[in-house]
């Protein structure tokens, strides 16, 4: 996995560099016009936001129930990426909504629960930073509860009638809209995987240094 980090970062940097031209080449959406192009960044960010919650939850599950100490590093890494991609989702969303719906924000189920999930990630980060020793298990418990929101956020637009487009929009997208979308999605996903790897490796190194210090103290 680690060998892929450098090529992934290079490739995603290149792809994100040319993304503006590809997005520019896509046709205008008939009702929303130019502002619909926010979608090409909003959708990948939102999907990776949800993915990071799932990765964080599964890693925490392995850490708590199967006593895998290395899983904790993956949980930390994905939680921080959740903050990053969550921020991207929550910034691009209102930019689009202002033009498409006329308001920056509505309290519909998907928007509300996305904000809540972002707050859960923020609380997780604060706990990890200021909780001190013993906070890793609590953080893992927190991540498990946070993961519950993901299916809810995903299906919410199909259950309640809301302003947010339904999940059926993406699979039925015409090809000329689909190409820039999946291009951006691939670029962001590679960036996500590379950052996840780097951050998890860093967390593992931190844990090793910590263990070495403790050994030194005892000796």
């Amino acid at each position: 996995m680690r060998k892929l980090t450098t090529p992934f970062i290079g490739l995603s940097a290149g792809m994100l560099f040319v993304a503006p031209w590809i997005i520019n080449a896509a046709p205008y959406e008939s009702t929303m016009g130019l502002v619909q192009k926010v979608f090409y960044f909003h959708f990948p960010a939102a999907i990776l936001f949800l993915a990071s919650a799932i990765i964080c939850g599964i890693a925490s599950l392995r850490f708590l129930f199967f006593k895998k100490p290395t899983a904790d590093a993956w949980a930390v890494a994905s939680a921080e990426l959740g903050l990053l991609f969550g921020a991207m989702t929550l910034v691009t969303g209102p930019l689009w909504a202002r033009k498409a719906w006329g308001v920056w924000w509505v309290w519909d189920p998907r928007l509300t629960m996305s904000l809540v999930l972002f707050l859960i990630f923020a609380a997780y980060a604060i706990l990890r930073k200021y909780g001190g020793p013993g906070s890793d298990k609590l953080a893992a418990g927190m991540a498990l509860f946070g993961m519950l929101n993901v299916p809810f956020i995903y299906v919410s637009v199909n259950i309640w009638r809301t302003l947010h487009p339904m999940t059926s929009v993406v699979p039925t997208l015409p090809t000329e809209f689909g190409i820039p979308l999946w291009f951006c999605f691939a670029a962001f996903t590679m960036l996500f995987v590379a950052l996840l790897n780097l951050r998890a490796t860093l967390a593992l190194h931190e844990a090793r240094v910590e263990a070495l210090y403790l050994d030194e103290d005892e000796a």
């Binding site: 708590l64 129930f65 509300t112 629960m113 809540v116 707050l119 859960i120 923020a122 609380a123 604060i126 706990l127 200021y130 909780g131 001190g132 020793p133 013993g134 906070s135 298990k137 609590l138 893992a140 418990g141 927190m142 498990l144 509860f145 946070g146 519950l148 809810f152």
Partner: protein, 227 residues
């Protein structure tokens, strides 16, 4: 299974005995809840009249604030007296200990709510006797969901630095779904023309969240409390 309830009952009885002797948590929580309601009434009452449809929101804010205070204190007492380790060393199922702690907290919060609900009804014109059964069910289910997560987090936070500030920061985002269902359901009952089917709908969602939260909390209590 019988053992489970026996252990839970012993934990409840222990907590209640301590509480009846000191009354510390009940009195502080109750006074705090009343203060919250009073601050709200000073903040929003204009020209001697409260705005319509605010009672449900204020009631649930007061319950969640007071609940946070109470759950922090129940485990602080165990930490202060160094009895948490003894409790965990007891040859009993950890989930049963959790269930006992949760029941104790629910009893306390129930007592607080018995005094809080009429106060809110009085100050903000809430028709609490229109659908008393539904209102009680919403209060019980909402408090259960909130306290189920709160008990778990408060127990885990005992070993963590700056636990008093962290508890609300961690607890509120997680319990937002329960709060939304509680507030919406109660608001439907408190409207000028009460909407019972709407309250029933929110009650259903609330019960679903309760089941999820209680199951997950019972399930995670054991590994998180193991050294």
């Amino acid at each position: 299974m019988n053992d489970f309830f026996r252990v839970a009952w012993h934990v409840v009885r222990k907590d209640m005995t301590v509480e009846i002797r000191s009354k510390e948590i009940l009195l502080t929580t109750l006074l705090f809840a009343v203060s919250v309601v009073l601050i709200f009434s000073f903040a929003i009452v204009r020209e001697g009249r409260a705005p319509d449809d605010v009672a449900a929101g204020i009631l649930w804010v007061a319950i969640s604030f007071a609940g946070t205070l109470a759950m922090g204190r129940t485990f602080e007492r165990e930490r202060y007296n160094d009895t948490l380790r003894a409790l965990l060393l007891a040859p009993a199922d950890r989930p049963a200990i959790y269930a006992g702690k949760l029941l104790g907290l629910l009893l306390l919060l129930g007592l607080v709510e018995i005094m809080l609900v009429p106060l809110v009804a009085l100050l903000f014109n809430a028709p609490i006797f229109a659908f008393p059964g539904m209102l009680i069910a919403l209060l019980v289910a909402g408090t259960l969901g909130f306290a189920a997560v709160g008990t778990l987090f408060a127990a885990m936070l005992v070993r963590v630095r700056s636990r008093d500030t962290l508890l609300p920061v961690l607890l509120y985002p997680i319990t937002v779904p329960v709060m939304i269902c509680g507030v919406r359901g109660t608001a439907a009952l408190f409207q000028a023309t009460p909407d019972e089917p709407m309250a029933r709908l929110w009650m259903g969602i609330l019960v679903a969240w309760d089941v999820i939260f209680v199951t997950l909390a019972l399930w995670t209590f054991e590994p998180v409390m193991t050294e």
